[in-house]
């Protein structure tokens, strides 16, 4: 009885892992670091989380999860509320719609797909941000941020992949 309950709890916790990790990563990403330009150029960890988990475990990362992570990111970063949620939902949707493309593919192909998705996401963010804020920010920081996001995706994959292997390999 107790064992069964514990097993159930264990399963529930494991199933909550992708979303929980995404929230923790977003939270950590706003901690002030003594690195010049960090806050401006910080890569989008929220995008990496949503992309990774939607590609690898779409069953554990539903659309509302992407929405919630985006909203949380908006709230902490001070971005227009709903913008991040909107963009991450689109990212989630485009991956789910094309999930056959990603299945069993080599890492560099997934990475290339991530680069395209990140580029489009950044573009949509800038356009919507422009519509909401009435001013276009400097493009250089936005481009650098995009490059960093793409460049760091393998690191995110390694970290999330480790969690996935250790905790979610059974199912």
């Amino acid at each position: 009885m107790v064992v069964a309950a514990l097993a159930q709890l264990d399963r529930a916790l494991k199933r909550a892992l992708p979303l929980a990790l995404a929230f923790i990563v977003v939270l950590l990403s706003v901690v002030p670091l003594p690195v010049p330009e960090y806050a401006v150029l910080a890569p989008s960890f929220a995008l990496m989380s949503v992309f990774y988990w939607t590609v690898h475990r779409p069953d554990l990362f539903p659309a509302w999860g992407a929405f919630a992570v985006g909203l949380f990111d908006d709230m902490l970063s001070g971005a227009p509320l709903g913008l991040g949620a909107f963009v991450l939902l689109l990212v989630h949707f485009s991956i789910v719609a094309q999930h056959k493309v990603f299945r069993g593919k080599a890492f560099w192909l997934v990475w290339a797909a991530f680069a395209i998705v990140a580029f489009v996401a950044q573009l949509v963010t800038l356009l919507f941000g422009f519509a909401l804020k009435g001013a276009l920010p400097d493009t250089m920081p936005a481009a650098t941020q995009l490059a960093l996001t793409i460049a760091l995706y393998p690191v995110a994959t390694a970290v999330f992949g480790r969690f996935q292997r250790v905790f979610l390999s059974g199912g």
């Binding site: 002030p32 003594p34 929405f67 709903g82 001013a135």
Partner: protein, 293 residues
């Protein structure tokens, strides 16, 4: 329950349909939130600050060791050139002692002159010091979260000062957290003046490290190294707060100012209530006008 063949045939399209509906619903909510936020609905700010309030204790806990580690690294670096630093400080101390004498003389003179003309004494102000617990950027915002809010006396429009100069103003306030909009934010427009010439201008943030000086008085020619201070116009900031120095005066790049505050290393901010009455004097008329009606 085990699914049978025909059941599955009906269930699968239904599930896809339900997923689509949920997706569209969420997308609609996101757009709705953006529109509400654009219209500055109070609900959006309350929601944002409620969540911020909830995570600020956690952020406070995480950022402390990070800050300590950075301080340790700084100390090690400082130890390496302690001799050179010592010499520099001695020189600076000698110079500052001279300035102290000048300031004392001026203060005495100022007091005497004020008494002569019966000038009103300047209003006193209150302040609190708050820790910076989150430094959030992105393409559109330059702001930090501080671990002090309405319960500590922080209110919208209060001035955020670093020890060396103006950092920004309080934009949103929760119960125990507040968001400070930095000088470099896209939405930051600070009425300033060139200290030496008293020429007025507006300091506009554009998300780069060097905000731009716009609406300069015609004929005004800012020079490299000119000090910029707040002008006090518009009633948001009191006059005379140090802001930065002019570092660029090119034709197409415009006049750019390097703020005195080092935005990469703000651990603490002093939130000052200068009693200037916040940011929206038109939307919130002073109480005595209300009483007249």
């Amino acid at each position: 329950m085990k699914r049978t063949g025909p059941m599955l045939k009906i269930a699968a399209p239904m599930r896809v349909l339900a997923q689509r509906a949920a997706f569209m619903g969420l997308l609609g909510s996101a757009v709705g939130l953006m529109v509400l936020g654009k219209a500055e609905a109070p609900f959006v700010e309350r929601l944002r600050m409620a969540v911020t309030d909830a995570v600020v204790p956690v952020l406070d806990g995480i950022s402390r060791p990070v800050q300590t580690a950075a301080q340790v690294a700084d100390n090690v670096r400082a130890l390496m050139d302690v001799n050179a630093e010592n010499r520099r400080l001695r020189d600076q101390n000698a110079m500052l002692l001279h300035w102290q004498q000048v300031a004392r003389n001026l203060e005495a003179e100022n007091r005497a002159l004020r008494e002569t003309v019966h000038a009103a004494t300047e209003a006193s102000f209150t302040y609190i010091t708050a820790r910076v617990v989150a430094d959030a950027g992105g393409a559109f915002v330059r702001s930090v979260l501080i671990a002090a809010g309405a319960r500590d006396g922080v209110a919208k429009g209060h001035t955020a000062m670093s020890p060396v100069g103006l950092a920004g103003r309080v934009g949103e306030v929760g119960e125990r957290s507040a968001r400070v909009l930095l000088l470099t934010d896209l939405n930051s427009h600070v009425p300033v003046m060139i200290e030496s010439s008293r020429d007025r201008a507006i300091l506009d943030g554009d998300n780069t490290d060097l905000p731009r000086l716009v609406f300069l008085a015609s004929g005004s020619r800012p020079q490299l190294g000119d000090r910029i201070v707040t002008s006090g116009h518009g009633g948001v900031f009191p006059p005379g707060l140090p802001v930065g120095v002019v570092v660029q005066t090119s034709e197409h790049g415009g006049v750019r100012v390097k703020p005195f505050v080092d935005f990469h290393r703000i651990d603490y901010l002093r939130v000052v209530d200068y009693g200037t009455g916040g940011t929206l004097p038109i939307a919130a008329p002073p109480p005595q006008i209300k009483r007249l009606r």
